[in-house]
Amino acid sequence: MISCADFMAEIGNYLEGEVASEVRLQLEHHLSHCQTCTVLVDSTRKTLKIVTDTGSFDLPEDAFRPIAAQIMAKIRGGAK
């Protein structure tokens, strides 16, 4: 039997799918009777899904255009 602390020590690898199958079975056995760790796994996965889906930190095209223009002006100036 593994404890919540044992589970927390492996949760990072578990989320990345990088645990050996024997360890995975132990972790999933723990999950089958531990509501707290199940919630942690579930909500962390939901966090990752939201982070991936949301398109956060997009630089608007019109914000990039003047930056690109400045860079190209410097490069073309240096190239002359």
């Binding site: 990072g12 079975l25 966090t47 949301t54 930190f57």
Partner: protein, 521 residues
Amino acid sequence: MSYFGEVDLGSSFQPFTACREQFGFVPKLFRAQTLLPRLIEAEGALSSAILFTDKALTRTQKECILLVLAAAQANDYCFSLHYQMLRLLGVTEQRLDRIVADYQRADLSPTTAALLTLVLNLGTKEAVQEASSQGLSDESILEAILTAGLSRLLCTLATGVGAVPDFAVRPIPPQQSALIRDVDSGGPFLPAPELPDNYVPFVFLSEQFGAVPKVFRAQTLRPDILQAETDALRRLLLPEDALSRTQKRDILLTGADLEALRKSGHSQEQALEAAVITSFAAFLDVLQTGLGAGSDFAGKIGAKKVHLSPPEPRHTAVTLSIDLDADTVARVQKGDLDAFEELMTRHNQRVYRTLVGILGNPDDARDAMQDTFLKVFQHLGGFEGRSKFSTWLVSIATNTGIQRLRERRPMESLDESGPDEEGFRPRQVQAWTDDPEQLYSQAEMRSLIENGVMRLPMKYRMVLMLRDIEQLSIEEAASALGLGIPATKARLLRGRLMLRESLAPHFIPSGNMGSAKGVTN
């Protein structure tokens, strides 16, 4: 060597390390996919679970299945690979040649012969019953069918990426012609213990496909394989750095139209990903046929007997794509300044996000973009393409960001542990709502995420930004940040848990609030 450019992933890329341990080298099939390392990780995890884990069948039996099926599919690449693997496992050439010529007259053990008969005749309950009557256990039959699925995956992939054989090609002797049968719909053919809908892999599959496809419910004798399959699908489907999630799900469910993709001007990464997703569709197709689990995936591939025809020629459409970055970099190196502008346009989001992750605010990040791109231009002449251009670019952005930070806060060590480094404990442990993305508008959600990420300590924010928002692999993120893999993983986990903590109040149904107990035991 293949249709796709190859980049150096460093000596510590885990799937390549595993290949060297298992094969003594890294097969070209995998080297052909280094543009998107997560694809190799997905295939590596699945192959390891099926091939390298000794449960019911031995490695030699599984390699025999792979050899015979590669011959049946007339796939030179896989045939030469598995031939060589069996040689390394101690099987003589003479014996291998006899197996390939006619396995039923090769003095194989009755068990191995029954396995080969099974995988060459998948699709009916009788084939499974015949295997049982020859003494094969349900676990052995399932593992043989999984290995057959892996064979189809590897053969489809080898064709799709245009891998050149690693070893001298041996002529494949003429194979017995295939008996085409209709797929028997009276499955499932094997017992499959019921697992609850909240079983973790099932939860992911439901999220992706609306329900758990029958082919997964038919494999519950091997939860470790189910986990490996869902892990692989997670790596394939979630990131959107090449194809969109919708495109990928469509390929899995209905088959790829690579020709249409080609005509629409896809990038090399997109073509590669399409080829890999197609090979996974072929894998799932073999399983659903072999297990009698209906046809949720890529029905076109499974319309007839699955092993005995070579992958469809349209897979080779991927040959016509070009490596946008490599060509563009070469043009810049020859003095074409417009090409540099193209590179900036293509990668400005990546540079911006890297810099936001380090500097912690959008204005500073925009400001540092100019420095970054000027350094890239200055050093591009010396860039030899040993790593992916985008990885090299991220490491320059990282260095630029860190340099700025040091100028701003010279006394702060970027590696110093925060006061609560070891003391962090999740406190919000109430269940989240089932579908958090339905609670807020896209703009509100973006604002929640951006605020949450910005509040993370810098060292966690940097890693989370590169891995979870920029979708780099752990190895790429570690390399760009100049950190070791364990430190990168530790910081990533801490960042994810802290972000989860800060988002939790927004996604816990109000009736569940107020019973926090934290993780204690």
